[in-house]
Structure formats: structure tokens, C-alpha cells
């Protein structure tokens, strides 16, 4: 293959075979984050059922967000019947 430079190849498979889970870091997509207003949360758990990334979890007094995979879609805030979640702009410096 005279027209090709040497490639740095990382996998040994010739055909598309999965060796590990390719984890997509959905946390990188977020431009806004859910913030739980502690006094309003009734701990009904609805937000954790609707969250597409499984990022809502239970804490002692309210539900909270695992920001590693929260993609900021706002579904939790939309579904919360107690209006206990505010979506706040994500600012990274």
C-alpha cells in the first residue's frame, strides 16, 4: 500500500467485535444541570424512573444527581410533580 502511511492501530480484530463496553460519557453533553430544591422534594422517586441515564439517586432528605453521566436533558425537572428540580445553566471555565 504505497499510498498509505503507517497507522497506529489499537485493536487486534479485523471485523467489528466488541471487547469491552464502549462507554459514552454523556456527562460531557450537558449545558444545564438539575438542582434539587431540598425542601420541595417529596422523595417520590419519579425523577429516577424517568431519567434516561439513571443519574438520579436517593439521599437522606431528597433525590440528587450523579453528574458524571447526567446529560442535562431536563426530563427529571419536567416530570417532577413537586417542581422540586430547577435546571441551571452549566458554566465551565
Amino acid at each position: 500500500m504505497s499510498n498509505m502511511r503507517r497507522m497506529k492501530l489499537t485493536g487486534s480484530y479485523e471485523a467489528p467485535i466488541g471487547t469491552t463496553m464502549y462507554v459514552v460519557n454523556t456527562g460531557d453533553w450537558r449545558y444545564q444541570r438539575p438542582v434539587t430544591i431540598a425542601g420541595k422534594c417529596r422523595k417520590c422517586g419519579l425523577c429516577s424512573l424517568y431519567c434516561p441515564t439513571g443519574s438520579r439517586y436517593e439521599e437522606a432528605n431528597a433525590f440528587a444527581t450523579d453528574l458524571r453521566y447526567c446529560k442535562g436533558c431536563g426530563i427529571c425537572a419536567n416530570e417532577c410533580g413537586a417542581a422540586a428540580i430547577a435546571m441551571v445553566e452549566e458554566i465551565r471555565t
Binding site: S2, M7, L9, G11, E14, A15, P16, I17, G18, Y22
Partner: protein, 413 residues
């Protein structure tokens, strides 16, 4: 007739049985001798008799394979994907609109690196409604990652299908292969074909035993997971690399087949009376036979012309064409297809790209011909050769001539 006649002294095996069979039967024999274990196909003109012949072989117990009757071409190739993933050697064939319906699994067959062999019994694409010859169907899918070999006669169909498995399953290649033969001109016309003995084919072609991709509960593999861009680029690169490597393997397999069975075909391309020629024609498929007769006639008149019969369209023999055509005074390409948007044929456009660095650029002329079952006649070739001579002598000749509908003022068909 292929220019590569059987050389009884050179070959290793005994001559095969002589039969007079059409191209579809030759393809069915090529498949049968390669011992596929799963077949699936949906009938479409002009491939239909191929399916009937294969079904007959299976029903009569002459071929130990499962023939899956499917409801569409999409299903035919999808069935073979599953079978190939389970380790089976597989075969199918299609034409024209059937190939179009098959496109989604077609592209996935090559990107999954499944060494399936499929005949494309080439036919014009519609519309206008047509069931006749043309190569637009196979040519249109040339960039879907398969190897594509085009053949000239019925013997070459049979032999090329056997060779196709050896190329497809080669550990450096692992790509599906199309053997493309002209609908009606070959598929429905009987010709003398030598059918090799099964034990000789068995010596040439060992059983398929995949390890690169397979569904096997004893060694589980996750096949085709969602793959992010950086890893996908790596797989694309490997696929392109396999196409590049296939050039060498096609030549090696052809050389080995020629040594054993006495019928070499030239690998990527056949050179016919080319080396001492100053003019060259390039053809693809069954029209090469007429072209050779026209080249012989022109030689008898003192015109020093030769021919390249292109066998491999994918991988495209760029370097080999460059080397073979270096120093020619004029080159004519016969295209049984069109390249929409280039206003030429596809082979012309690709040859232009391959030859772009030739010193003293020789004139390149395209001849679009034989679409939808229109014949490409001896007279057409005489006209093409005359235009090539004019171009070589410095006269300005149109870039494209549509043989059969395109005449100079005062010229008659």
C-alpha cells in the same frame, strides 16, 4: 471466448467433464463444486435459472446444503449473514432491482467482513423498464466494500466462483466477492464449459473455518456493537487495507488455479496482444470476446492495437493499469454503464484517475455502449478503433461516443 485456452500439458489435474451449458448453470456448478452449506436466493430475471438449478441440485441430493426460500433479496442476504456468522460457506445471486432491494444487508456484509460469494447476473437498472443486459446494477454498488470480478464467458464464471471463495476466505482478505456476468449474453447462452472433478476442486479449496467473526457459544464474541468514531475509523482502515491486499491475493489465486487446472485468467486484468501495441482498448465482461475478434481483424490490417480485459473493478488495479498502458498512443474504454454527472462511463472516469500521472498524457476516449441489451457489435468496435487511430494521429476526437446512437455527420450505422 476467453483468450486463455486450456493448456493440457501445463495443468496438474485431468481434464474435467465437457458440458454445453448456459452461464447460470456454469455459476450453479461453480457454487456446487465449492461445497456451500447454506444457500438463499429470490428469483429475478436474468438470475432466475441459477436459483432453479441450485434448488434442483439440493432436491436431487447432489448438493448437501440448505436452500432457504426467502421472500425478498433483503432476506436472502440477511439469511446468509447469519449462516456465515455461524461458520457456513454460503452462496447467492441476484440482478438489477433485486440488488437494489438488497443494498442494506449488501453493505453490511462487507463491513462485517463476511466472505460470502454472490453472483451478480448483470442487468440494466430501471427505468425505463427493461430486463436486458447492462452493467449499471453491479457498477453502481462498486463502493460498498465488496470485491467485484467481471468475467467474459461461461467457463470463466464457473472457475471464478471457485477462486472467489479462496480469495474471500483468505485470512488477509475476509471480504465478500461478487462474480459479475452479463445477463442474457452469458446467463442464457450455452457455451462449452469444462466442469472440473470434485476431488480436484477439494484439493484447491479447503473448508471454511472462520475465527475473525463468528457466533459460537463455546467462544462467545460480541458482534458489531455500537462503535465510536475513533474505533470505527480503525475498522474502515482495515477494510481498505484488505481491499489493497486483495490485489496480490487475486493474482496469487489465479496463478495457482491456472497451474492446477490449466486456465489462468490474468488475475486483476488480462492483457490481449497488448505489449507491442500502440493503441489499447479496455473492456469489462462478455463484450471482451467481440473486442478480441475486432483487435485480431485490426491487427490483420496492420493496426497495432491490443486489449485490456479488466477483471477486477474492486480492488481497482490502478498501478497495474498505469504500468500496462505506459507508452500507449491512445486508449479507448468501453463502458456498458454510465456515470451520471460525469457524462461518461464509470470505467472511463476511473481509468482517467489511475492514469493521471502518465507522462505525455495519451488521448483517452470513452465509448458508452450496449445499455439495456443493445448489442455491442463488431462494427461498433471497428468504429471505436478507427476513432482511436484518429486520436493517436493528433486529430481531435470527442471525449465520449455513444456507440449505436452517436454518428458523425454523413456517417451511417
Amino acid at each position: 471466448m476467453s483468450g486463455t485456452t486450456t493448456d493440457d500439458e501445463a495443468r496438474v489435474v485431468r481434464p474435467g467433464r465437457i458440458a454445453v451449458i448456459d452461464g447460470n448453470m456454469a455459476a450453479a456448478w461453480g457454487a456446487k463444486l465449492s461445497r456451500p452449506t447454506v444457500l438463499a436466493a429470490y428469483p429475478i430475471t436474468p438470475q432466475t435459472p441459477l436459483v432453479e438449478y441450485l434448488s434442483t441440485f439440493v432436491a436431487d441430493g447432489e448438493l448437501d446444503a440448505d436452500m432457504v426460500e426467502v421472500e425478498s433479496e433483503h432476506s436472502a442476504l440477511s439469511v446468509l449473514q447469519g449462516a456465515s456468522l455461524a461458520g457456513a460457506r454460503t452462496f447467492t445471486g441476484t440482478s438489477s432491482q433485486g440488488l437494489a432491494l438488497m443494498y442494506e444487508p449488501y453493505i453490511r456484509t462487507s463491513t462485517l467482513r463476511l466472505p460470502i460469494v454472490m453472483a451478480i447476473v448483470t442487468r440494466e437498472v430501471i427505468s425505463p423498464q427493461s430486463v436486458w443486459g447492462g452493467q449499471q446494477d453491479a457498477i453502481t454498488v462498486r463502493d460498498a466494500g465488496w470485491i467485484q470480478i467481471y468475467v467474459e464467458d461461461n467457463q470463466e464464471i464457473l472457475d471464478s466462483i471457485i477462486m472467489a471463495y479462496k480469495i474471500a476466505e483468505h485470512p488477509d482478505i475476509l471480504l465478500p466477492v461478487n462474480i459479475c456476468y452479463d445477463g442474457h449474453y452469458l446467463s442464457h447462452v450455452a457455451d462449452r464449459v469444462e466442469i472440473p472433478a470434485q476431488e480436484d476442486v477439494d484439493r484447491f479449496l479447503s473448508p471454511y473455518s472462520p475465527s475473525h467473526i463468528k457466533l459460537d457459544p463455546r467462544t462467545p464474541m460480541s458482534v458489531d456493537p455500537l462503535t465510536p468514531g475513533d474505533i470505527l475509523m480503525e475498522y474502515r482502515y482495515k477494510h481498505v487495507r484488505a481491499q489493497a491486499r486483495a490485489k496480490r491475493v487475486i493474482e496469487e489465486v489465479d496463478e495457482e488455479f491456472g497451474r492446477i487446472f490449466g486456465r489462468p485468467y490474468g488475475g486483476l486484468l488480462e492483457r490481449y496482444r497488448l505489449d507491442d501495441a500502440s493503441l489499447a482498448l479496455i473492456t469489462l465482461g462478455s463484450t471482451s470476446g467481440t473486442a478480441k475478434v475486432a483487435v485480431d481483424a485490426a491487427r490483420n490490417r496492420g493496426v497495432d492495437i491490443g486489449l485490456i480485459k479488466l477483471r477486477a473493478l474492486r480492488p481497482f488495479p490502478r498501478e497495474e493499469l498505469f504500468e500496462a498502458l505506459h507508452g500507449k498512443a491512445a486508449i479507448g474504454i468501453v463502458d456498458r454503464n454510465v456515470c451520471f454527472g460525469w457524462m461518461t462511463g464509470v470505467v472511463y472516469a476511473e481509468v482517467c484517475a489511475a492514469l493521471r500521472l502518465l507522462p505525455d498524457q495519451p488521448p483517452l476516449i470513452d465509448f458508452v455502449a450496449g445499455l439495456g441489451g443493445a448489442d455491442i457489435t463488431f462494427k461498433h468496435y471497428e468504429r471505436a478503433i478507427s476513432l482511436l487511430q484518429q486520436a493517436a494521429s493528433g486529430r481531435t476526437v470527442a471525449e465520449v461516443t455513444w456507440l449505436g446512437i452517436d454518428f458523425e455527420p454523413g456517417e451511417e450505422p
